[in-house]
């Protein structure tokens, strides 16, 4: 009965908390999922799950982290088990490869797309995407992210480092557009016989 009383009491407080954290949760979900509808679903499931588990809340002080943890677990489960979410996986783009087969126009369009930070984040593996959003958007410390994701701090740091290096390449590198010289046919003078 004590659990039930606690559940009811916490659910009341949680309703207000969910209202105040909704926009924040949605933005994180949108960055993770890359799609509005999936983000809405993820936040929806997070809210339902949070209400179900309201009896586990010890303190409302760090409730945002608790909500992020629920959302992180749901995000991972969805990515693992649901076909629609698995389609979100974006192949990593190797920017070190010099593209020769695509037209300059196509590459320019790709470059413009990748310049959008949102799409660039979408090219990161899920674990790196989650870390960089929690640190940069949510402003969590490495320790806090480690707690949310239940991984060591060192793992958070290495994922963050890899994520930023990839983002940096995608957002700032001009290598993605091939050097125009590569497309110039060099005419050599030859001896006509």
């Amino acid at each position: 009965m004590r659990n039930w009383v606690k559940l009811k009491s916490n659910q009341v407080k949680l309703n207000a908390v969910l209202e105040s954290h909704y926009a924040n949760l949605y933005r994180i979900a949108y960055a993770w999922c890359q799609e509005e509808t999936l983000a809405q679903d993820l936040v929806q499931d997070t809210m339902v799950k949070a209400l179900q588990r309201a009896d586990q809340i010890v303190s409302f002080e760090n409730i945002d982290r608790w909500l992020c943890k629920i959302m992180h677990n749901l995000f991972y489960d969805n990515c693992r088990h649901k076909a629609r979410w698995q389609q979100l996986t974006v192949e990593e783009i190797d920017l070190d490869e010099q593209p020769h087969s695509e037209s300059i126009e196509a590459l320019y369009i790709k470059k413009q797309t990748i310049n959008n930070i949102h799409h660039a984040i979408g090219t990161l593996p899920f674990d790196q995407r989650e870390v960089i959003i929690l640190v940069d958007l949510q402003g969590y410390t490495y320790q806090e992210v480690a707690e949310v994701m239940e991984v060591p701090v060192g793992t958070v740091m290495s994922r963050l480092s890899r994520a930023r290096q990839k983002l940096k390449k995608q957002v700032t590198s001009e290598r993605f557009i091939p050097n125009y010289m590569n497309n110039v046919v060099k005419l050599k003078k030859g001896n006509k016989s």
Partner: protein, 238 residues
């Protein structure tokens, strides 16, 4: 504690994220003064960090399904009374640890209602999957609840809410169609709700779902679930 590296370049992320101590920060900044490439790296990473923050702060957030603030406030006001009434009645049947999520409704009436209605007479069954095991479990639960109606008791209100892949359950071509139609025909106290958003999404993808008759689809699943939970319905997820 953050594990730091001896090489300043390795600490660039910890520096821009404010993870270094004052001493470490000074040492890093000193190293940065002597290393132009390190300075550039910091600038670029900071720019990306800022760009990301600005981008997502501008993202338009869809409206949150109504959480009925007034209802929560009312509940906060009446909750102590409700709790004491509940304790006074001394009902111990709710002590089960794995009890399904129950009402978040307001007012002292909740406690009395729960005490009076020990069979959870309003139940919401939520499904977001088309996995046969889960669908079967849900249908089994629904028919069991509808059938186990004690004589003279109020009819149990059962509502099946489906979203995501769960909406396939209500599709005209679904293999459980006959069972659902039979339940609908037999029980007036059964309501079916398909998530409006899931249907729209399916239609957008070029695979619209043709629902069987009498399935409601005028609101998102979350709105329906939260609304019902706040009204004291018992929630089960499959």
């Amino acid at each position: 504690m953050t594990k730091l590296h001896n090489n300043p370049a390795e600490n660039v992320h910890a520096y821009i994220d404010g993870e270094l101590s004052a001493g470490e920060r000074d040492a890093f900044e000193e190293a940065m003064q002597l290393d132009e490439s390190l300075k550039e790296e910091v600038c670029e990473l900071r720019k990306i960090k800022q760009q990301m923050l600005e981008h997502y702060q501008k993202v338009e957030v869809p409206p949150m399904p109504k959480l009925e603030r007034k209802s929560s406030e009312r509940m906060q006001r009446y909750w102590p009374i409700a709790a004491s009434l509940f304790l006074a009645f001394g009902v111990g049947f709710l002590a089960a640890k794995d009890m399904p999520l129950n009402s978040v409704t307001s007012g002292s009436g909740v406690v009395l209602k729960v005490a009076e209605n020990q069979q959870n007479d309003k139940v919401i069954l939520h499904i977001d999957s088309d996995q046969p095991q889960r669908v079967n479990a849900l249908l089994q639960k629904a028919s069991m609840m509808l059938q186990s109606q004690p004589p003279g008791a109020h009819p149990v209100q059962v509502e099946i809410v489906a979203n995501d892949h769960g909406i396939d359950l209500f599709e005209k071509g679904n293999r459980n169609r006959a069972a659902i139609i039979a339940l609908l025909a037999k029980y007036d106290n059964l309501k079916l709700v398909a998530c409006q958003r899931a249907l729209e999404r399916r239609a957008q993808s070029g695979h619209p779902v043709q629902l069987i008759d009498h399935v409601e689809s005028d609101r998102p699943a979350l709105e329906e679930i939260v609304d019902k939970m706040k009204k004291g319905w018992t929630y089960y997820r499959f």
